[in-house]
């Protein structure tokens, strides 16, 4: 493999990794607070792409406006899912909450099939992103440059909120000790809503960029990226935002690279993430950066 082709793959790997990272942050934030795999997260991400589609094609919004609308609506959806599917089960066994999460995910998927139709739709890509840079013999679409930049910016903003603001402090308190946070006068329900809202908004950002990269929209498009992003979060260390980003990059990169170097394994692509997950869980169950979830034995 030539150096140039390697660079090509590298750029694709970084882009895919950034997308996984953005979705993974939402999983990790929710898991950090509720110890819950928000199965619906991938579907929330999918909704963002459809909001973009309908915003631009049906409501003739300018692209930028559609992005803002998509982010806001998706954030609201995340909060709604938490209200309806998770909050009533706050004190129930984990298995119930998980089933509810799976149910919510399926409900959104099936509703989307009914409402949006099963036929693929084309994500609206603005002219700006149609540009492809040619460096030597390789060609890199403009999106490949923007996606990692946006991921990094989103991460910085998020880390600022979590580490430097009062809300962020409350979020950290709730994830450390739920009951104690409540007793300290923190409105736990509000904090959880904010967490879901922020996670979903990041998923929306991811969704918009996903659409630019993979413009073929189907209602089940959130399923695999969602699962893989969760795996990325586990790989990095669940509950750990930086870990989620690291895990996302690692997973995206290795998916692209394995196929690049071993093309005969292309058909097995969707299995890599799971194999990697199982390996990580067996040999480093706390993830690469250590999990930020305490559990008393």
């Amino acid at each position: 493999m030539s150096y140039e082709i390697f660079l090509q793959h590298l750029s694709n790997g970084i882009a895919l990794g950034s997308l996984y990272a953005l979705i993974a942050i939402g999983y990790t934030m929710v898991y950090g607070i509720l110890r819950l795999i928000n199965f619906a997260h991938g579907d929330i991400f999918m909704i963002a792409t459809y909001v973009m589609f309908y915003g631009v094609t049906m409501f003739f919004m300018p692209w930028g406006v559609a992005v803002v609308v998509a982010i806001l609506l998706t954030g609201a959806l995340g909060i709604l899912v938490e209200r309806l599917a998770y909050r009533p089960l706050r004190n129930s066994p984990r298995i119930s909450v998980m089933i509810s999460a799976i149910g919510a995910s399926y409900l959104i998927e099936n509703l989307s099939i009914v409402i949006f139709g099963g036929r693929p739709k084309a994500f609206p890509i603005p002219e700006f992103f149609n540009h492809v840079s040619h460096i030597g013999s390789i060609s890199i679409p403009r999106a490949n440059f923007f996606i990692p930049v946006i991921t990094v910016v989103a991460l910085i903003v998020l880390l600022y909120i979590v580490n430097k603001t009062k809300t962020g402090m409350a979020m950290r308190a709730v994830s450390k000790d739920y009951e104690a946070a409540r007793l300290m006068g923190i409105n736990v329900d509000n904090i959880i809503s904010i967490t879901f809202g922020m996670g979903s908004m990041l998923a929306a950002v991811g969704g918009v960029m996903w659409g630019i990269k993979y413009p073929n929209l189907i209602p089940l498009l959130g399923l695999m990226p969602g699962l893989k992003a969760f795996i990325a979060a586990v790989i990095g260390g669940i509950g750990n935002i930086k870990g989620a980003v690291l895990g996302g990059f690692l997973l995206g990169m290795s998916e692209i690279m394995i196929i690049a170097f071993l093309p005969s394994l292309t058909g097995y692509r969707d299995a890599f993430a799971f194999i990697l997950l199982i390996a990580i869980l067996l040999f480093k169950p706390d993830g690469l950066l250590g999990k930020n979830v305490t559990e008393k034995v």
Binding site: R35, L36, I37, A85, P88, L89, S92, R94, I95, S96, M98, I99, S100, I102, G103, A104, Y106, L107, E109, N110, L111, I113, V114, G117, G118, P219, L223, L227, F230, I231, V234, G267, Y268, R269, D270, A271, A273, F274, I275, L277, I278, L281, L282, P285, V297
Partner: protein
């Protein structure tokens, strides 16, 4: 041995047998298919219930183990001619090319292969808990499916297998379903069944009572996978066609739905909900089809049925945390009175 209780049980089985025989003789093709599906879903529901409900291992990989049973049995029952018709992209591996055996041994082998695969896959991850186990087992389901899509000379890849002999009939499904029911009741009553439940209740305490967690979890998982394989084999020979997409997570979801609706851990609940879910899934099929309004035809809306079912699942988990049947097992008397009521309604 033949005390009153046992007599009632035997009587119940005999009555069920007679009812099934009558149904088998009178129902049309379509209804018979539903009857068969109900029996198969009972087996599948009970097998997932053993893993999730008795032992508390939240497994989401059931569809994968069903796929193993389905493919293993199908490759054994299909005629060599049929196989060569199917495998036109790449020829089938020579060992399997000329094999053709009877249905019953094929079902049993299907079950055993699924059990072995289940045991091998589960062994390394059984120490994971709750959601980690769930996501890892979900991964297994996906990995099995991806492998089956790619092993062209073994499974015919994405094309699937067509023209399976349609061996599955009411006799097979319901005999096996009833045997599965008896097996599960007996297991739960046994010392091992109690050990499984102890693990579900409190792993640390169970281990400190001398229960080997690994061994017992592996046993539960393996037995559950066996019945998943058996169910998969029956399903394959009912459908006549199998392909990897059939065994997506959606399949696991349907079975999970049955287990949850029937109260996790309850045997009779699982049985009743398997029947209800199967019948209503078929009955609601019209929702997915095209609807002709006279002046225009609404395109078929696949998914409407599943919208309803996901809603149902949500409602049950949110409002009836103990399933539709309540928490307790249905006793013989309870069943009788319900059955009577049901029959009256039918009439």
């Amino acid at each position: 041995m033949l005390n009153k209780n046992n007599l009632i049980k035997i009587g119940l089985i005999v009555v069920t047998g007679i009812v099934l025989a009558i149904l088998n003789a009178t129902l049309g093709r379509y209804s018979l298919r539903i009857l068969n599906l109900a029996g198969i879903y009972i087996i599948l529901g009970l097998s997932l219930n053993l893993i999730n409900g008795f032992t508390g291992l939240f497994s989401l990989g059931h569809a994968g183990f069903m796929a193993v049973g389905a493919y293993a049995s199908a490759l054994l029952t299909m005629s060599p001619a049929q196989k060569s018709v199917n495998f036109f992209v790449k020829p089938i591996v020579p060992i399997l090319a000329n094999v053709e055996i009877g249905f019953l041994p094929a079902i049993i082998i299907g079950g055993f292969v699924a059990a072995i695969v289940g045991a091998i896959l589960a062994a390394p991850i059984l120490r994971l808990k709750d959601d980690y186990l769930a996501i890892a087992t979900l991964g297994f389901g996906e990995i099995i499916r991806v492998i089956f899509t790619n092993t062209q000379s073994l499974t015919n890849g994405a094309l699937g297998l067509k023209g399976l002999p349609s061996y599955t009939n009411t006799g097979y499904t319901w005999t096996i379903a009833i045997l599965t029911i008896i097996f599960m009741f007996s297991l739960r009553r046994s010392s091992y069944g109690k050990a499984f439940m102890a693990i579900r209740e409190d792993e640390i305490a169970a281990e400190s009572m001398g229960i080997d967690l690994f061994k017992h979890k592996l046993l539960a998982f393996t037995i559950g996978s066996f019945f998943a394989g058996v169910g998969g084999a029956l399903l394959a020979h009912l459908m006549g066609t199998i392909d990897p997409l059939m065994f997506r997570f959606l399949m696991t979801f349907n079975i999970l739905l049955i287990v949850v609706l029937g109260e996790i851990g309850s045997i009779s609940g699982t049985i009743v909900s398997a029947i209800i879910v199967t019948i209503s899934m078929e009955w609601l099929r019209f929702l997915d089809g095209p609807i002709d309004l006279g002046f225009m035809v609404i395109h078929s809306v696949p998914g409407m049925r599943m919208v309803l079912f996901s809603l149902l699942l949500m409602i049950v988990i949110l409002y009836y945390q103990h399933g539709l049947m309540g928490q307790d097992e249905i006793t013989l008397e309870f069943l009788k009175s319900k059955l009577n009521k049901f029959k009256k309604k039918e009439a």
